[in-house]
């Protein structure tokens, strides 16, 4: 194993709508023997709502600088946080004038560009590795999964760490833990869930999320797996609202990949927050053997 300690950036949803992603991320890393040190006093990455790149770079310079003091690379379970941290890291590493300017605004933004930023999926598959994870598996998670990747894992090219059209990192983990990837879902893997329009064009957001849920259901999935809390809010948190607004019945469990991996590692379901997903996950638990 090439990694034993990382700085952990939970992101804002970890304290509210995606608390189960936070719980399962911590539990899985602990089981894998990788120590997570939470970025002390971390601030929001800017999400999709801070559109000015310079403000995004400044916000994340602070987060990066805190991790740099500990001499640790940063890992985050959220795809949007990852995108903002990574693009800021790249911009700051490449531009000394920018670093100097930010340092002038506040000393806490003094970042020297010495650490890496990573998404949990990247760490699991490419740093810890499938062999290492395989040696720690205790159970078989015998479920049919529609692996949904969303936007920032394979896009945009300079921050991506998987294929833009057919990403595979989550598929590899699911197959490793005994799950099955449903056929006919591949073309939906990276189509946006609509989340960024939830508060301003909820009608479009609902239609987009419904399409993903429908395709997963028609493909015969037991659940959808995710790696982003905004996707979780749309597909899981809002699923009952979508059913009501569009007069449809879906009933598709939606779990984070860290929750599935945690089950395979033999971690207690409640410690993985599986009682906190909005759509009931009991059927999945019944398939863990």
């Amino acid at each position: 194993m090439s990694v034993d300690k990382l700085a952990y950036y939970p992101g804002c949803p970890s304290e509210a709508t995606a608390i189960e992603q936070h719980m399962s991320t911590e539990a899985v890393f602990e089981k894998l023997g990788v120590e997570l040190v939470e970025v002390e006093d971390w601030n929001c990455c800017g999400a999709a709502e801070v559109e000015d790149p310079r403000v995004v770079y400044a916000l994340n310079a602070r987060n990066l600088a805190i991790a740099e003091k500990e001499d640790l690379d940063i890992v985050t379970p959220c795809s949007i946080c990852y995108y903002n941290l990574e693009r800021s890291n790249r911009a700051l590493k490449a531009d000394e004038a920018l670093r100097t300017k930010l340092k002038g605004i506040d000393s806490s933004l003094d970042y020297n560009g010495t650490i890496k930023t990573k998404h949990v999926l990247d760490v699991f598959v490419n740093d810890i590795g499938l062999d290492e994870i395989s040696s720690k598996l205790e159970k078989k998670v015998n479920v049919k999964v529609a692996p949904y990747y969303g936007c920032y894992i394979g896009r945009p090219p300079e921050t991506a760490f998987d294929d833009p059209d057919n990403p595979v990192l989550m598929d590899k983990l699911i197959e490793l833990i005994g799950g099955e990837i449903v056929p006919n879902f591949n073309y939906m893997k990276t189509v946006c869930c609509g989340g960024p329009l939830m508060m301003t064009r909820g009608d479009i957001a609902f239609d987009m999320a419904r399409k993903i849920l429908d395709v997963a259901k028609n493909a015969g999935a037991d659940c959808i797996s995710l790696a982003c809390p905004l996707c979780g809010m749309m597909l899981d948190g809002k699923q009952a609202d979508i059913e009501k607004a569009l007069d449809v019945t879906i009933g598709m469990p939606v779990v984070y990949i860290t929750q599935l991996l945690g089950l395979a590692l033999g971690i207690e379901p409640n410690k993985l927050g599986l009682n906190k997903n909005a759509v009931d996950t009991k059927e999945i638990l019944g398939k863990v053997v």
Partner: protein, 210 residues
């Protein structure tokens, strides 16, 4: 729509290219790959980022900045990932949105979307607390969107009553969330809130007004 050449603003493309994210605008050769791959085209008829780029290059400033389609972009980056000319379309649209917001603040334009209000409310939360506070965001956004506090609260209830109850029962929001009755209700605040204030004041739109 015929183009009135005498109304074109030849400097518009330079204005966009000097805005962060807009730098690569002029590389576009109009292949339409952005539009063919865009997931929004399925839900918004006529949505066409290629056309927005070409109108921008031609200098159709007013038509571009008042186009409501600017505000349904998901920033999903599919266009950017597929563009053979590396135009960074998602970032160009972001640059256009920021120019449009400044024009609206200057009283030159009326934006037909609540999205600037949402983005601003989000940024206020961030500037105040350093982290996103969902309830604070909704309490700020809905009254502004609906034009009054009462209407805002009613609209918020309509959109979020069921969702809020669901999150409450799962212990994600409200008195059962955040690990304690108090923490679940209040904003999560960082210690160095002053740094957030400095960042927004020096680099944000407020900084430009100074």
């Amino acid at each position: 729509m015929p183009i009135k050449t005498w109304e074109l603003d030849p400097n518009f493309k330079n204005e966009i290219m000097s805005e962060a994210g807009g730098e690569r605008l002029a590389s576009c050769f109009q292949c339409s790959t952005c539009t063919l791959g865009c997931p929004i085209t399925e839900f918004v008829p006529g949505y066409n980022p290629r056309k927005i780029i070409q109108m921008s290059l031609l200098g159709m400033r007013e038509e571009v900045l008042s186009n409501p389609d600017l505000w349904v972009c998901l920033i999903c980056q599919t266009c950017t990932a597929r563009c053979p000319q590396d135009v960074r379309i998602a970032d160009v649209l972001g640059a256009l949105r920021r120019i449009a917001e400044r024009e609206e603040e200057a009283g030159n334009l009326k934006i037909d979307s609540p999205r600037p209000l949402f983005d601003k409310a989000f940024q206020h939360q961030l500037k105040k607390f350093g982290r996103l506070y969902d309830m604070g965001l909704a309490m700020e956004y809905y009254p502004k969107k609906e034009g009054s506090f009462i209407k805002g609260m009613l609209a918020m209830m309509k959109d979020y009553k069921d969702f809020g109850m669901r999150m409450f029962l799962k212990g994600k929001m409200g008195p059962l969330g955040g690990g304690s009755p108090v923490k679940g209700m209040l904003a999560s605040k960082i210690k160095q809130k002053d740094v957030m204030k400095k960042i927004f004041e020096e680099l944000g739109e407020e900084g430009k007004e100074k």
